[in-house]
């Protein structure tokens, strides 16, 4: 039997072996509660803080600016609701292509939604126009999880800096923070907060070959944040609950590796990506590449096959042991194509014929060639049936 080909790394990544072995002692031998005051517990706390230190290094942050959370969704919720609850009556702006874990919390507050263009790139002038004197938070993801478009975070940050100065001159003391969800980008891009110019960054262990349900919110020390989880006051009072020590040790270890191999992975996957695009377009002239060609994560491939039903294609690929995601979930359910593709102005039909193929560390050129040839056959067959 042939080996399965997994191409859904944007949904989940297999845990790295070193990550797993780093975590193991903290389930049993080093099980102590890091808040306790005897030596073995203090040792656990020190190990936890070592991890915090490692993580802060990659973000160019102070260790105290790293808040451990249970996953990326929680980090995003804490960023949005934490800022908005600390600044009642203010408003926030989010991009139209944010993950639901940003979009849905944002909709609980006074909010505006910044549009994107047809490649899924934020429209900077439109975003700036939405900012008013009461805007306290802007959230734009570093790179989109569906179409992989990389957003101009630095440019947005520069504009925000200018607005902050204007506010001071106008005696307006409303802060203006920039949050970015870097869950998808961290495998390939620099996430130093000062490089990006952001005040809050969300990361997700489950997307970086670390444990699921572990996450980080970087919160710059100048951001005022309200906690969502109340209790024992852990994580600088911002996230109560006994720390998931094993998880955070694993997360730190996973982040270390992604950052060390980030550049070579980017080079390797970029080549596979352009190989994929070139070959599929040569064999299937009707194929549409969604998203941007140059401002794109190197592991993301997002295609539409006009006239082909993506759910059927996924089921057929599944039978061929190739695992990919629908470019837009729920094609039949509720007739709701993805809000990301919708925001890009992609028609429902095009959305319902789209696949997201996301590559990762174990993806090889052979995998890609096999996948291309099987997709080409299946798409042709589906077109003939139609």
């Amino acid at each position: 039997m042939k080996n399965p080909i997994y191409l859904d790394y944007a949904a989940a990544t297999p845990m790295d072996n070193n990550v797993l072995s780093a975590m193991m002692p903290f389930f049993s031998a080093n099980f102590y509660n890091p808040s306790a005051n005897y030596d073995p517990a203090i040792d656990v706390k020190n190990k936890l803080n070592d991890s915090r230190g490692k993580i802060s290094f990659w973000l160019g942050a102070k260790p105290t600016e790293i808040i451990f959370t249970a996953g990326g969704t929680e980090a995003n919720n804490l960023a949005i609701s934490g800022v908005m609850q600390a600044n009642p009556d203010k408003n926030l702006i989010v991009s139209a292509i944010e993950h639901d874990s940003v979009l849905l919390p944002a909709k609980q507050y006074l909010h505006k939604i910044a549009p994107v263009d047809s490649r899924g790139m934020i429209n900077l002038p439109s975003l700036l126009k939405l900012i008013d004197k009461d805007t306290v938070l802007i959230s734009v993801m570093h790179a989109n999880n569906e179409v992989g478009t990389i957003q101009p975070i630095k440019e947005i940050a520069q504009k925000i800096k200018a607005i902050r100065s204007q506010r001071l001159l106008a005696n307006n003391h409303t802060p203006l923070y920039l949050h970015t969800d870097a869950s998808q980008s961290v495998n390939y891009l620099d996430i130093h907060h000062s490089q990006l110019g952001v005040d809050l960054i969300s990361l997700n262990g489950g997307k970086i070959y670390g444990p699921k349900q572990t996450g980080i919110l970087f919160v710059s020390s100048r951001v005022k944040l309200s906690p969502l989880m109340l209790g024992g006051g852990q994580e600088n009072n911002l996230r109560s609950g006994t720390e998931n020590v094993a998880g955070f040790i694993g997360l730190a270890c996973a982040l270390d590796k992604t950052q060390l191999i980030r550049k070579e992975e980017t080079d390797r996957l970029s080549k596979l990506q352009s190989h994929f695009f070139k070959n599929i377009a040569a064999k299937l002239p009707d194929v549409i590449i969604n998203g941007s060609l140059n401002k794109r994560l190197p592991n993301n491939i997002h295609l539409s096959f006009p006239g082909v039903d993506n759910e059927m294609l996924i089921a057929l690929l599944n039978n061929a042991l190739i695992y990919v995601a629908a470019g837009s979930a729920c094609s039949a359910s509720n007739n709701m194509p993805s809000h990301v593709l919708k925001a890009m102005g992609i028609t429902d039909d095009q959305a319902r014929s789209s696949l997201r193929i996301s590559m990762g560390r174990e993806t090889t050129l052979e995998d890609i060639d096999q996948t291309i040839s099987i997709i080409v056959d299946l798409v042709k067959e589906q077109m003939n049936n139609a």
Partner: protein, 348 residues
């Protein structure tokens, strides 16, 4: 040209195998998932998306075309609303029977025909022969009871391939073909009910019902019930009347929100030797005087010999050889001649 057939595929093993068998027989097969219900109810997760994808996966495995028919609106108005209003009137309806009559063998059939199908098929355990409806060969699984209201003209355009098989054979075929649904658990009802308690369902539709009084066989008020709608004649449980002998529901008064109970299992209101049926539906022709018939008053109940069938206008009186317990207004009684479904009606 092979005949075009549309198979209703629920994502279960029976309809998966039905599609596979028809394909093997040389039909031009299209699988159709009917989306009838998608709402989660308290304590019940509606798995329609998983079921839909399961059906689609099988279609992909078989290499057949696949469609989704969204019948939620029609299912709501013709099955759910009917069911709720029947309960409100104090009766106990059978939504699966209504679903077959109105949705599967009317709406699905007509939609499929207008989309180019010549025939339809379903995964029911029943057989169709020459416009006649027969019981499924697997007497454990026979679903002919649910199908007695299907029109003869619809039966003529329908196939039920697994009706000729026993359930274990069906699973074996699915395993042999490697169908992804081979080991999927059977769903309880054909439609959504059966998975969720009727009380929870009615509460989600009508809001919490008002409690009322429970009256025993001597006319005594013996306690409080949760709402007369939720109780069915013959029912033994859920009365919250503590101690002593078990109570059985013998009747109810919906306007006064009263439930009548007895501790006497021989109480005449629990046993009937004669039934009155309305809304009669005969599949081929009405029963004749010189044939022997049997009747079934609920799914999987024993067949009881009929001694006499009379009618005054649209109301039929069916005399039985044995007494039958807990016959509830609103439920269906189905009449058989050997393994053929003659028709039936609704108990009044």
């Amino acid at each position: 040209m092979p005949k075009k057939i549309y198979v209703g595929m629920s994502g279960g093993v029976d309809s998966s195998v039905s599609a596979a068998l028809l394909l093997k027989q040389g039909f031009d097969v299209t699988g159709v998932y009917m989306k009838n219900w998608s709402k989660n109810l308290p304590g019940h997760y509606c798995s329609w998306e998983e079921d839909y994808m399961d059906a689609k996966k099988v279609a992909a495995q078989l290499g057949i075309k696949f469609k989704l028919y969204d019948f939620e609106k029609e299912y709501r108005s013709q099955v759910v609303d009917y069911m709720v209003s029947e309960y409100q009137a104090g009766r106990t309806p059978n939504p699966d029977i209504m679903c077959n009559q109105e949705i599967k063998f009317k709406l699905f059939l007509n939609t499929a025909l207008s989309d180019g199908a010549e025939l339809i098929a379903t995964g029911h355990y029943a057989r169709i022969n020459d416009g006649q409806l027969l019981t499924g060969l697997d007497s454990n699984k026979d679903q002919s009871y649910f199908l007695y209201r299907v029109e003869e003209s619809a039966l003529e355009k329908s196939l039920m391939p697994v009706g000729e098989l026993e359930k274990p054979e069906v699973r074996k075929i699915a395993e042999k073909l490697g169908l992804s649904t081979a080991n999927k658990k059977d769903s309880q009802g054909i439609c959504f009910v059966g998975q969720v308690g009727i009380k929870e369902f009615l509460e989600s539709e009508l809001g919490i019902s008002k409690p009322g009084r429970i009256i025993n066989q001597t006319g005594e008020d013996i306690g409080e019930h949760e709402g007369a709608l939720y109780y069915t004649i013959g029912q033994r449980h859920g009365l919250n009347v503590g101690g002593g002998l078990p109570y059985y529901v013998t009747g109810k008064n919906i306007t006064r929100n009263q439930v009548f109970v007895t501790t006497d299992i021989t109480d005449i209101s629990l046993w009937k030797s004669s039934l009155k049926l309305s809304n009669i539906h005969w599949i081929n022709k009405p029963p004749s005087k010189d044939s022997k018939y049997k009747i079934r008053t609920r799914y999987r109940a024993d067949l009881i010999n009929i001694t006499n069938i009379n009618h005054q206008g649209d109301v039929y009186t069916i005399d039985l050889e044995d007494e039958v317990r807990a016959v509830t207004p609103g439920q269906s009684a189905v009449i058989y001649e050997k393994d053929r479904v003659v028709g039936g009606g609704i108990v009044i």
